[in-house]
């Protein structure tokens, strides 16, 4: 009985939701298609030199034809980015926990952390290449790690310390010690801040790995391929490699956003998803 009445309703609801999602995405999709068409048209109409800007159709053809090499290189570089991300984010979280716990450490370290944040870290790439060896993935991981470290450190610290004083008083009224307060209040309170930083760090890790490779690295690496292709006037390949880097970067970002959505279903921002 109920099966007959429920199924069509559920079906209609699913259809309705799909339609709504489609309507929300439609403007963005239209802009993409229009942009690509404009690019293709203008390159042909203005007879733009191939090395200045290849038409998107050529880039996509190369992206497909050289997919094995390009994705191999992408995977190589992505592993560097992932390694750097893991090292940098872990270090950022650990230091934030320590600095958040010990006030003396905060006053001793914070000025340097803020100053160091202003250093263009990517400038160190040639030096880390020397330290760890040009072909050693670690030389790129270190750059990615340092890039990831600062936003994660600063944001996590803010999340751990920006707890409403009454929240702490409440826990103390239950005779809770510092460890319990950390576990039950400070840590969950810091999660939205931490995830915001991890999303920024995911993008920075890819930038660090690719730019680090511009200063030299394995022939398998994406950054080296982009640099060499551009030097050899193989601009379609360079653009296709950039496309691979972009797809990997966006994928990385979305993966973290997904984990965020799954861990923080309690967060008020989850309301928007309802």
């Amino acid at each position: 009985m109920s099966g007959y009445s429920v199924t069509p309703v559920a079906g209609e609801r699913l259809l309705g939701r799909t339609m709504r999602t489609a309507r929300e995405w439609l403007p963005a999709a239209a802009v993409l298609v229009l942009g690509l068409a404009l690019w293709e048209g203008l390159v042909a109409a203005l007879n733009v030199q191939r090395f200045l800007l290849p038409p998107p159709s050529d880039i996509i053809r190369t992206f497909w034809n050289e997919r094995a090499v390009l994705w191999g290189a992408g995977w190589y570089t992505f592993k560097e980015a992932l390694g750097g991300f893991a090292i940098g984010c872990s270090a950022g979280v650990i230091l934030a926990v320590l600095v958040g716990r010990f006030r003396l450490l905060r006053t001793a370290i914070m000025p340097y952390a803020i100053a160091a944040n202003a250093i263009p870290i990517i400038a160190f790439a040639p030096i880390t290449n020397q330290w760890f060896g040009l072909l050693n993935p670690l030389s790129k991981m270190v750059i990615a790690a340092v890039l990831c470290f600062f936003p994660v450190f600063v944001n996590t610290l803010r999340g751990l310390t920006s707890v409403h004083p009454s929240s702490i008083d409440l826990m103390r009224s239950y005779a809770a010690g510092e460890v319990t307060i950390f576990r039950r209040v400070r840590f969950p309170n810091s999660l939205p801040y931490l995830f915001a930083a991890l999303k920024v760090a995911s993008v920075l890790a890819m930038i660090g790995a690719v730019v680090g490779e511009y200063f030299g690295g394995s022939q398998e690496a994406l950054g080296v391929q982009i640099r060499n292709s551009a030097a050899l006037f193989a601009f379609e390949t360079a653009w296709a490699a950039i496309l691979v880097a972009s797809v990997l970067g966006i994928g990385f970002y979305l993966a973290i956003a997904l984990v965020e959505r799954l861990t923080m279903d309690w967060h008020p921002s989850a309301r928007a998803a309802e």
């Binding site: 009224s173 005779a175 319990t180 309690w266 967060h267 008020p268």
Partner: protein, 267 residues
Amino acid sequence: MTDAAAVSLRTVGRTFANGEVIALQEIDLEIEPREFVSLIGPSGCGKSTLLRIIGDLIKPSTGEVIVNGKTAHQARLDRDYGIVFQDAVLYDWRTVARNISLPLELAGWDRGRRDARVNEMLDLVELTGFEKRHPWELSGGMQQRVSIARALSFSPALLLMDEPFGSLDEMTRERLNAELLRIWQETQSTIVFVTHSIAEAVFLSTRVAVMSPRPGRITEIIPIDLPQPRTNATREDAHFFELVTRVREALHGGSGRDAELRLAEAE
């Protein structure tokens, strides 16, 4: 009888900024079990500070604080009191039920006992059916009821309330006042209640302690002899208005005298 007192304050003082600001001076107050005592006064009179001193969340600079026959510090470690703040202070990452069960988790209750008590509490504050909701899905009044349920969940003998209904509209506030009195009767607890609403203090309390600022001290303690249980009719009782007037005069009397003194000094 003094060691049977729920709260006993003896010449309690508190200064801030290296003694330059005197927040509280010479506070003496004995609160018997089952009493409902309101601390009322203008902002800056130290009433919230005094409540936090009773809860051992702030240490007094001078004097002695005894709660349930032990030091305030020991009473806090023994979880002898529940506290409710002006903001509900609920944790967004916990559902209503898990917010209420937080003190029970910290006290090491097992799952079955916790669930049973949470259901009792939801029933007490009339929020049954909302256990799986998150705090931000509730109205301000409902959030404050969750906060009260959490404070009562482990049956503390003493309840400290710091302007719990201060940010609610008048109608919600009156309804929660009546609910609080019912809960107070049912749980047989002692309540210390900070407010700056004269009508609220008179309606709820067995005694009202009137405070004055700079330095914060108790200027008068007014017994409220309105019959129990109090209902909405109490608010229209002639004696209710008399008591409201007495508290108002006690509040203004302090500053009125000060003004006269200042005038006299100026001449």
